[in-house]
Amino acid sequence: MIRMITKRLLTSIFTLIILVSVVFAMTHATPGGPAFSILGQKATPAAVKALNARLGLNVPWWDQYFIWWGHLLQGRLGFSYLLNRPVTELISEYLGNTLMLYIGAIVLAVVLAIGIGLVQGVTWGRWPARLIGAFQLAAYALPTFFVGTMFILYFGVEWQVLPTGGITNLRDVHPGIIDYGRHLVLPILTVGLLSVSGLSRYFGASVHEELNKDYVRTALAKGLTFRAVLFGHVLRNALRPLVTILGLSFPGIFVGSVLVESVFNYPGLGYLLWRSALSQDYPVVSGIVLLLGVITVVGNLLADLVNGLLDPREIYD
């Protein structure tokens, strides 16, 4: 077990080093360098030079690379070009809202996916499973921003049951926690819906697959009820691939939240990323991308560890 964890940790660290390098390469691949993009029309050679000096861009790229690493290891992500505030400060300001959205959507998606997937897996090939399949496809095929807007239109405008925007920051919740929660419902539903579609389909398929395995026949031959076999034997084995796919789908869920946050004007990282990307604020963009990469790598690591707990073979081999 310890051996497996150590091995996975080493791999993850290696992956993170590559990730940081890729992000560095990305932000420095801009034609003419960031100064050009920032200055735009005003990009006289002198102004560019001055700005480069101010941003620390006047040294060779390999020096910049190592300086960047040094800063990263100290937890410094640089300053936003536009807002002139430390990136870490900006990120921590928006992070809370995004985490709420992210975690809420994931919990919703996992709970629904397990329920729906069980029904689909058990009725595989018959009408309930087909019906579920049709809904899964429909949920997947609708653009996220369209779904979000429709939610706003109906829940917020037509029926006026839920607020559609104007959420405050998690740190200074003025109107109270209930109001904050009400603001979260629609964004979570929108992001969650997209994830439920893929996750439940995947889980349904793995329940179906597990049900066709020999040990199910053995368990039934022992006289267990189908329900006991399903919950006592099949569920645990079918969860393993779900955990793996969940770990892998973190970036996908974030992509969904970028779009959803911009639909709901939701002050989260996705929204910040979008605004910063549009205004070429590289330190902010690379900071967020990096954070996300780290979350994903750690998420995958966690998924592997959970799988180790679910499947004894992973530990002992």
Partner: protein, 622 residues
Amino acid sequence: MSAVLTLDQFAVALRRGRGKNVPILDDINLTVAAGEMTALVGESGSGKTIASLGVIRLLPRGASTAGRVMLGAQDLTDLSDAEMRKVRGRDIGMVFQNPLSALNPSTRVGAQITEVYRLHTGESDRAARARALELFGEVGIPNPADRLDDYPHQFSGGMRQRVMIAMALACSPKLLIADEPTTGLDLLVARQIMALLTKLRRERQMGVLFITHDLSVVEEHADQVHVLYAGRSVEWGPARSFFEQPRHPYSQALLGAVPRLGQARLVSIPGNLPDPETRPPGCRFAPRCSYREDACETAYPAADTLGGTVFACRRGREIVPEVLGAVPQAAVRARQSGPVVLQADALGVDYPRSAASFLRGLLGGRDRLTALSNISFSLQRGQCLGVVGESGSGKSTLGRAVLQMIPYHGRVILDGHDFTTMGAREKRAARLGVQVVFQDPRESLNPRMRIGDIVAEPLKLAGMSGSRARRDAAAALLNRVGLNDRMMSQFPLAVSGGQAQRIAIARALATKPAMIVLDEPTSSLDVSTQAMLLNLLKDLAETDGLSYILISHDIAAVSYMADTIAVLRGGQLMEMGDAASVLGAPQSEYTRELVAASPHFRSTNKMGAASGAVAVADKSGF
């Protein structure tokens, strides 16, 4: 003896696609008496597994059954689903093939056993655990207390099957249904499992319905034999009478297809098992039967009896005891020794393995695992070297080293040319002279290539130009292995396992190799198909002077084919020599055990001595 299980006109039909149900099993009448074993024998597709699932009512959705299933005095077909659940596990225990997949991989074996005991007795967790411990001791698992909390993958194949048996016995059932419990196990282990089952049923007065494709497994254990062909009973009765004189041509062919030492020719059954949709209206075996007459094809023959067994054949009475014994014994097999084709000197193979110590593993250290050490042999033209051993003995590794598929040390010399001194190009050309036929023919043919292209592929790679010429050559190769060249445009999935294996042989012949490594070539095939394939290989050896290395766990097949036999164990050569002497007078203790464990071979010895009827009652091997 009272009957534990009685099947009365039992029939099963399964739903296939959207149409109406297709009959799989018809009119089965069968009894299992308390303390006795009834063997239900049939090749794949005979419906034997469906019969067992029908008894415990775990058939696939949409299946329909007819007839009665009596467990003691109780008709199982009358029970409600809830009542039936109480019968499963409590009154009927099940043991399935391949215990690795039949046990839940993520649950401790102890918990899987206590689960069934608690379910049916309502006992506490503690009592159930005590019971599991007791059962573990009874089925012969060493250190039972330590092993209850292990997972299935931590057991060896034989021990896993013992766990399955312990689980089936948890509630002391009256009937045990064992569906191919020894298939896939090594010979010695399979023998131990059979002995265990016999011991348990005698001690507990438990009936055993033993389902198998392999008659020889049950020869010394079964009390009753029931042979199925294409979903119908063809012959049944006391095992003793059955093995003394089978009356149905199919039973005869099944017994005659089992290879024996020094036998010139195996009895083979032409054709394939019919699909359930296209079964012939009369006797289902008629299209493949050499005793066929016109009446056989119109109506199913009535059951007849003579000398103990009941058989469904019009001409069963004519089939005389001599038929079996009359298989020509090729006493003289004097082959002139030809030139040496292949020589191996001090052949050894090591596999790298993750280091045993954690720290070294972290640093990327590797331990070496010796898979094969210091094997030397030479193979003459037209001869066959049989390599025998259990799984993990290194026999397949030996084959792969000879084929140059894996790195090895020592020398392999083909036709006087040493592989170790060759350059890459030279080696590539020389490898064409050593070809291979694998165990699973479906795995060894690309499922998305047409059969014609598969057979022609070696020719194409060897640089033969002109697709027309290649096609003709491929057709000729197919004809040589007894296949019709019309199948060239089909895909491998459309042909039977035996045909697929012949295609693999045709392909191996394409480069005109000096020798072929046969890696368990028949172990995934039915007995009748196996006989046909072994006959074909023997013919090719004679006509083309082909040499073989036959790798097999099946001593019967090796004894039929091999001139020389090498016995491997744990990568070491235990014994090597002339086939007759290795099998007849084994030098090492291990070889003696192996030979004694092979039922085919034991009965052959007997036959050689008695040269007539097959004797059954030989229990000296115990």
